[in-house]
């Protein structure tokens, strides 16, 4: 399983000289195996996807964790959506109030977009998922609702190569007592448990989180604890805060290394990184 990180920034694309190392594109991860491609989230990083490398791929599956703008803003620029020869499947969280096409239609309509969702010319199929298990090519995918404002899921992607878990927006420590050691009481733990790689929200420092509780994100330290409780084998922190420069992220990482003593490797996710598991 080849995993390419096309966007690891949180909230808003952030391009300036101080974010060149970790990157400024918002959430988009490409997962590839046996010529089958999954795209996890459609943030601005999706514009870096090179489809000329995937001409043989008969279909593309876009798995959205949720519909906050930083996770869908790249959709309008996703060329296969406008290619009648392409079969594109969009997967996203179910909610009772409105269908997924209706909710996506809020973005794909004026004044936010010059065209409507119905104008997409690809062979489109939309799938609403919740606490679900489904198969795409060589992948078995488990989705589950996780704690984040609005309907939001995380994904556990399993293939014969291993297990990759993706929970980019997540606040498992919400509440007075913070993270619970008993993983039955830990949102998303069934997705993360024993994963070969966990790509998880690590937006805030402890100080920042103290004034941003309920905003839907995790501290870097809590993300490490979460990975420890769920016994993942490797952790990458993502959804970097848009105010964090490369130098600040380096300093945060140095502090984490100094304070933490965990039996698994962890890093700050860097845009453009390719990982094989």
């Amino acid at each position: 399983m080849k995993i390419t990180l096309w966007g690891v920034r949180g909230s808003i694309p952030t391009f300036n000289p101080s974010t060149k190392v970790y990157g400024g594109n918002t959430s988009c991860i490409e997962v590839e195996e046996d010529g089958c491609m999954l795209v996890l989230d459609a943030g601005s990083g999706i514009t870096n996807l090179n489809f000329s490398n995937n001409l043989d791929c008969p279909r593309i599956d876009i798995l959205l964790t949720h519909l906050h703008i930083d996770h869908i803003q790249g959709l309008s620029f996703f060329k296969p959506l406008f290619d009648p020869a392409k079969e594109v499947h969009i997967w996203g969280p179910h909610t009772h109030a409105h269908s997924l096409p209706t909710r996506l239609g809020r973005y794909f309509s004026p004044p936010l977009s010059p065209f409507y969702f119905r104008d997409l010319t690809c062979q489109l199929e939309v799938h609403e998922i919740g606490n679900s298990v489904f198969n795409i090519g060589p992948f078995t995918i488990q989705s589950a609702y996780v704690i984040h404002p609005g309907p939001t899921v995380g994904y556990r992607v399993t293939s014969r190569s291993g297990v990759f878990t993706y929970i980019p927006d997540h606040e498992p420590a919400l509440g007075l007592s913070g993270l619970n050691h008993d993983i039955r009481w830990l949102s998303g733990s069934e997705l993360a448990k024993d994963a070969d790689l966990l790509l998880h929200d690590g937006q805030y420092t402890n100080e920042e989180y103290s004034v941003k509780k309920g905003w839907g994100h995790t501290t870097m330290e809590d993300a490490l604890k979460y990975a420890s409780f769920t016994k993942v084998k490797r952790l990458l922190l993502m959804h970097h805060d848009p105010t964090h420069s490369d130098a600040q992220l380096d300093a945060c990482f140095a502090q984490l290394v100094e304070k933490a003593d965990y039996p698994f490797p962890f890093e700050m996710a860097v845009e453009g990184t390719v990982i094989e598991i």
Partner: protein, 130 residues
């Protein structure tokens, strides 16, 4: 297997409240009770953990104002578990030590985004709280 996030979020809310809150699964097993609820049960969550329905439902007796035992089907939480609807009732509870207390109970079903009934919550109000 993690509990549904609707259960987890209810626990986190209960953890922050000064009123007794009980959270059960769909058949009435007690998954969590907060500190104010510990006083009613006479037990601490950190000691008992989760409790089977037959265990915690016998810790106190439920009676009407004439001292007559209430049928389980008359209790708000039981009705919520049966019908997946909210209920409210004021009655008397009597601990195994014989201490009686007038209590009002509000109960509601936990039905999440998936539209699936995953458990129930009972909130106990003392008349002085009302």
């Amino acid at each position: 297997m993690a509990y549904p996030i609707e259960i987890i979020l209810n626990r986190q809310l209960a953890d922050c409240l000064a009123i007794p809150v009980f959270i059960t699964d769909t058949v009435g097993n007690l998954l969590f009770y907060n500190e104010p609820a510990e006083e009613i049960l006479g037990k601490r969550y950190q000691d008992t953990g989760e409790m089977k329905v037959e265990e915690w439902s016998t810790i106190f007796l439920s009676k009407d104002e004439n001292g007559k035992l209430l049928e389980p089907e008359d209790l708000p939480l039981v009705k919520t578990l049966l019908n997946q609807l909210p209920y409210f009732k004021t009655f008397w509870i009597e601990s195994l030590k014989g201490k009686s207390e007038k209590i009002s109970v509000s109960s509601y079903p936990i039905i999440g985004r998936a539209g699936i009934f995953v458990g129930a919550v009972a909130i106990f109000w003392r008349p002085s709280d009302e």
